[in-house]
């Protein structure tokens, strides 16, 4: 909502400064968004006199002016305007001045070899109304040296406030003045609107076929008007707030919209045939509107039509056909009430915003329907002459009278402020409420323009808003800390730990979009209809992600494109299996690209350079699980993973086939190709929601520990087995021989070579034996060793390598 300070003064007497006004507006909830003062912006442009105008020696269209700007010496200015002539008064910009209409800053220049020390300006160049060809041509009595904007009466700051949707009552200059006055800023000037004495009935009638859309519509004919440009003062105000003056009749409707918050429409009576009908549009009906655009309507939209067809889009915009023009002689003024919901729906459907729609969808004061029509009639008669008819009213002005009870103590209960009943009453009355009742309970009658007030909380807001909330005393919350109780859920703690574990492994935490492209969603097992966004911001962000991996893969490629190819990225966040709350759960996923393994960032003097392998991803996954307290040794690792992974280089982490915890592996080459991902990339994903709940124990005790005084022994074994035998078989078989004695089995070497045979490999393990009560004899060690060999040979079909 824009208005100018002088306009506000029509309704509000105040002596305070502009700064004080702006601050007050913001503090009562009418947040100042912008203040623009043309006079300030144009302060440098002053009135000058052209002393002489000579032909430019080298350019037919240019003249060399000698300009008196009040300085000691006249200035030489080159000018191309056809109306530049000796003796004229104009407006000069000097070197260093910013010309808003051209978006340039002037400097001393040479134009075709002749020095120019300034620029004579046109209206357009100063972003003012352009009044024809050439530079501004002022009357002889224009005072030399005065800033033009001051001379032209443009020294009137334009204020734009943000109005929240609940406050249609301040979508008018009058409403703003009323709110300011209630807060103690200035004094409201009430301007009663005398009723118009019409002659004869209004010849055009209205038939309301859609009473839900239109509870009431009032119409008046003014005969014999003379339309044309509106007066200067009105044009200035409309221009200042960004509206384009059209003609007096149309300008009056726009003026009333902002002055009183009362949108109106004017029809050229000569172009209306028969009775006006408020009805639903017929599907496919067209309207060419006053904004020079054409709209195709459907049956959900309300229109005003006559015998010929649609004349106006109800409450939003009039049609061009029957609009008032300079030739209009008889004008029909319409003041109507429209259903906010239907206006909003129609406006949204058509993508049509107008000042009328803005107000009707928020709600206009029903009780001002007829007064607004009267005021507009006065303006028409004053500015265009003519003779008014009586008002024709179709429908009925709805009764919105409402009484709300306000227990006084509620003000303190919600606000914490002690405001005396007297003061509460005074504030409400200044806002236009009628207050009666005792000192413990007020009965408050709500004015018809406060459609946002329903209950006591709304009234308390009004009181507090005007009273001022900044003096409110800070009150500490009562203490509620319960020591020892975790404030975070298990899932929240898991997310936190997973993030910090992965970061500690040298990875960067990314936060990528929750939505990805359809193609990516399908590649990762998603893309279901129920997870598609109906109005995505782009086709790259159209489907809720089924996995964190696509976002990470693309991020890695973006980094590679910028020259950072060795990337380790992770994300901990939500993925979507379906559209239910349970279908959303948190995952931890990570990828490593090229040389970005845990141990080797890139080439280094102390390490052989090595590209990432699936084992790097496996290590990441297991590291997260271990830090979350999952017993890694009990975890099953099964060959294979979903088909975005390499089938031979991926694994599934599970606790039984029904409880899959995650996957790791190298990505499928086909996937990388389809996603345009280059290089070697491995990754993992863990479903943090699938992790087992920790066992509930009655005690936090870890139990007593017995430290053996005996040294552990190590024995190495190497086995030759078929190539497809999984290492884990050997490790488990060895471990299983004696779980008390064998505390660790470590695989320390893998060897493949021609000496072993094509399809064989050798795996070497280091077995740790920890005797508990006595030193082991050679025979005992021998016996365990033999058992280990037998167990491994039995489990794998291999043999000890001698």
């Amino acid at each position: 909502m824009k208005f100018t300070v002088s306009w506000l003064r029509d309704y509000l007497d105040f002596d305070d400064t502009l700064e004080a006004l702006l601050e007050k507006l913001t503090l009562i909830g009418l947040e100042v968004e912008e203040v623009e003062n043309v006079a300030e912006m144009l302060a440098a442009f002053k009135i000058v006199e052209v002393l002489s105008a000579e032909q430019h020696p080298d350019a037919d269209r240019l003249r060399v002016l000698s300009v008196n700007n009040g300085g000691e010496e006249p200035l030489q200015v080159v000018c191309g305007a056809p109306n530049a002539r000796a003796g004229m008064k104009g407006v000069l910009g000097l070197p260093g001045d910013y010309v808003p209409g051209l978006d340039i800053t002037l400097s001393v220049g040479k134009i075709r070899g002749v020095e120019s020390r300034g620029m004579m300006c046109s209206g357009g160049e100063l972003q003012l109304l352009d009044d024809g060809d050439g530079i501004l041509d002022l009357p002889d009595d224009a005072p030399l040296g005065t800033p033009y904007a001051v001379y032209a009466g443009l020294d009137d700051p334009v204020i734009e406030i943000g109005v929240t949707p609940n406050r249609p009552d301040v979508l008018s200059v009058y409403g703003i003045a009323r709110d300011l006055a209630a807060s103690g800023f200035g004094k409201l000037k009430n301007k009663p609107i005398p009723p118009v004495r019409g002659k004869g009935t209004c010849p055009v009638k209205v038939d309301i076929q859609e009473p839900d859309l239109c509870p009431a519509i009032a119409l008046r004919l003014v005969k014999g008007v003379k339309n044309g440009p509106s007066p200067d003062w009105m044009q200035k105000r409309l221009t200042a707030i960004g509206l384009r003056p059209i003609n007096t009749l149309v300008d009056i409707t726009n003026y009333m919209t902002f002055d009183r918050g009362r949108p109106l429409h004017v029809f050229d009576a000569a172009k209306v045939s028969g009775t006006l009908v408020v009805r639903a549009a017929k599907a496919g009906e067209e309207l060419s509107a006053l904004n020079d655009k054409s709209y195709t309507l459907d049956e959900t939209m309300g229109v005003i039509a006559d015998e010929k067809g649609v004349e106006s889009l109800a409450g939003i915009m009039g049609g061009a056909q029957s609009g008032a023009t300079d030739e209009t002689i008889d004008v029909l003024i319409e003041s109507a009430l429209w259903d906010p919901y239907q206006i909003a729906q129609t406006g949204r459907k058509l993508g049509l915003n107008s000042d009328a729609r803005y107000r009707f969808e928020r709600g206009v004061d029903p009780n001002f329907t007829l007064s607004g029509l009267d005021e507009a009639t006065h303006l028409v008669m004053e500015l265009c002459g003519g003779e008014p008819s009586e008002v024709y009213l179709a429908g009925e002005i709805p009764n919105v009278d409402k009484i709300v009870e306000l227990p006084i103590k509620e003000v303190k209960r919600l606000s914490g402020i002690d405001i005396e009943a007297r003061e509460i009453k005074a504030i409400l009355e200044l806002l236009g409420f009628w207050v009666s009742g005792s000192t413990s309970l007020f009965k408050v009658a709500i004015p018809s323009y406060r459609l946002d007030i329903f209950g006591k909380a709304d009234l308390i807001e009004e009181v507090v808003r005007i009273y001022g909330i900044n003096d409110l005393p800070s009150t500490p919350l009562p203490s509620m800390t319960k020591l020892g109780n975790s404030k975070l859920s298990l899932q929240q703690m898991r997310n936190r730990k997973a993030k910090r574990t992965l970061a500690a492994r040298g990875m960067m935490e990314a936060v990528t979009w929750s939505f990805i492209s359809k193609q990516e969603a399908i590649l990762f097992g998603g893309g279901a209809n129920e997870l598609q966004i109906a109005n995505p911001i782009s086709s790259d962000l159209s489907d809720m992600r089924p996995s964190l991996l696509p976002g990470l893969l693309k991020a890695a490629q973006r980094n590679a494109d910028r020259g950072f190819g060795d990337t380790a990225l992770f994300e901990v966040g939500q993925i979507f299996e379906n559209d239910t709350p349970e279908g959303q759960h948190d995952c931890a996923s990570g990828i490593r690209r090229e040389m970005a393994s845990h141990h080797i960032a890139t080439r280094h003097w102390a390490n052989e350079p090595q590209k990432v392998t699936l084992y790097d991803a496996k290590e990441d996954a297991l590291s997260v699980l271990a830090s979350l307290g999952v017993n890694i040794t009990n975890l099953q690792i099964v060959e294979g993973a979903p088909d975005y992974f390499h089938p031979g280089r991926s694994g599934t982490l599970q606790q039984g086939p029904k409880n899959i915890i995650g996957y790791f592996g190298a990505f499928h080459p086909r996937l990388l190709k389809e996603m345009d991902i280059e290089g070697t990339v491995v990754g993992f994903e863990l479903n943090l929601a699938a992790l087992p709940m920790p066992r509930k124990k009655g005690t936090k005790s870890k139990g007593a520990m017995i430290l053996s005084g005996l040294q552990p022994l190590h024995r190495d074994f190497a086995f030759i087995v078929d190539k497809n035998v999984q290492a884990e078989k050997i490790l488990k078989a060895a471990q299983g021989v004696n779980k008390n004695l064998i505390t660790d089995v470590m695989l320390f070497d893998i060897f493949e070579g021609a000496t072993l045979g094509e399809d064989k490999k050798s795996l070497a393990i280091d077995v740790t034996l920890q005797p508990n009560d006595k030193t082991m004899t050679d025979e005992e060690i021998e016996a365990v060793s033999n058992k280990i060999i037998l167990a491994v040979e039995k489990a794998t079909g291999g043999s000890l390598r001698h």
Partner: protein
């Protein structure tokens, strides 16, 4: 005899002194005091001597042996030192060679995660728990239950993402704020309620300061006699703790949110200088959050009696807080995963915010 011994001693001592390595010295030791060494042989002669001779020669020979032994030991020590010094010199390497990649100092936590942890630490200290809810919401939880009437222009303030309409006509939304979790929390818990709700939120908007996805944290306090003064205190405490400053100026402006009444926007005092914002000082104001007393309709929708209980709620952009506190100018960069950006704006994994240890180090 004693003259011979004197010469022997002199020769041995000089040999010991001149021994250039431990092997030579060992040879001398064996030759002098080994089992068959010169001195050992001489000692053996003591047995054949008369008591008088023995009484004279015993101390002389023993004294000689003692001095040689000591000289050997002294020399041995010196030679060991010398050998060690030579070895140390030989073992010298280039200490300026760069160390290997240090994962724990290379990895980074995203500012959004870090700021959520900071906020959680602050509110946890004030007795707040952390609640969460789904990103895909029903129209009821996202709007209707929060007192956004259908068709109300307030709904248009939220540029809402919709999922495709289902067969039964239902259309889910991507939650436009974390406020639906207010209702979900009220449905589950009895007052007194004190939670924060950090999470992802979505609006179809995109420019330098708007991204289609962003993060919000919601605060909700419900109890008996909770009023705006409590809200003010809570926000003041939060701002001081979060921005790590001793005092803070807040300005409350009346505003409108359908789910609170009265509603207020909150500005924090700041200065703008050289493109940087300093929170807590100066005469400028910056809007940081929206807040208000929970609307009676919302309490009712959550199953709470508005005449018995009252409460406040507030919402603030997490990304925006991170931008302000840590001077990150471009919101879009938060979701781009640029390595350089993450290295610069990210946090070390062990910098875990806590109230006892300080939020940021």
């Amino acid at each position: 005899m004693s003259e011979d011994l004197a010469i022997l001693e002199q020769n041995l001592l000089s040999e010991i002194q001149n021994a250039s390595d431990e092997n030579t010295l060992e040879d001398i030791r064996i030759r002098a005091i080994g089992k068959k060494g010169i001195l050992s042989e001489k000692m053996k002669t003591l047995g054949k001597m008369t008591p008088e001779e023995r009484k004279e020669m015993g101390p002389i020979l023993n004294g000689l042996k003692g001095r040689i032994t000591e000289a050997l030991s002294t020399r041995k020590h010196i030679l060991e030192e010398e050998a060690l010094n030579v070895r140390l010199l030989r073992e010298k390497v280039d200490v300026t060679l760069p160390p290997r990649f240090d994962p724990i100092n290379e990895g980074r936590i995203h500012p959004v995660s870090q700021v959520i942890d900071e906020i959680t630490a602050i509110f946890g200290d004030m007795g707040f728990g952390v609640a969460d809810g789904p990103d895909l919401e029903t129209d009821y939880y996202n709007f209707t239950a929060l007192n956004f009437p259908e068709g109300h222009p307030a709904r248009e303030m939220h540029d809402t993402f919709f999922l495709k309409e289902k067969e039964d006509g239902e259309r889910l939304v991507l939650r436009t704020h974390t406020s639906p979790v207010q209702i979900r929390t009220m449905e589950k818990e009895e007052p007194p309620i004190r939670v924060i709700i950090p999470g992802r939120t979505y609006r179809c908007d995109s420019d330098q300061t708007h991204t289609p996805m962003f993060h919000q944290v919601e605060g909700l306090v419900i109890g008996e006699d909770i009023h705006m003064g409590h809200l003010k205190w809570t926000l003041e405490e939060f701002c001081k703790a979060f921005f790590e400053i001793l005092s803070v100026k807040l300005r409350f402006r009346p505003s409108f949110f359908p789910f609170t009444e009265p509603s207020m926007e909150v500005d924090v005092g700041c200065t703008f200088a050289q493109g940087e914002v300093k929170i807590g000082e100066g005469d400028d104001w910056m809007e940081i959050l929206g807040s208000g007393m929970v609307h009676p309709n919302v309490l009712k929708n959550g199953g709470i009696d508005p005449d018995k209980y009252s409460g406040f709620a507030f919402g603030v952009g997490i990304d925006r807080l991170a931008m302000l506190k840590y001077g990150a100018p471009d919101l879009r960069a938060f979701f781009d995963a640029d390595y350089r950006w993450m290295k610069h704006y990210g946090f070390r994994p062990l910098d875990i915010p806590s109230m006892v240890g300080g939020l940021s180090s």
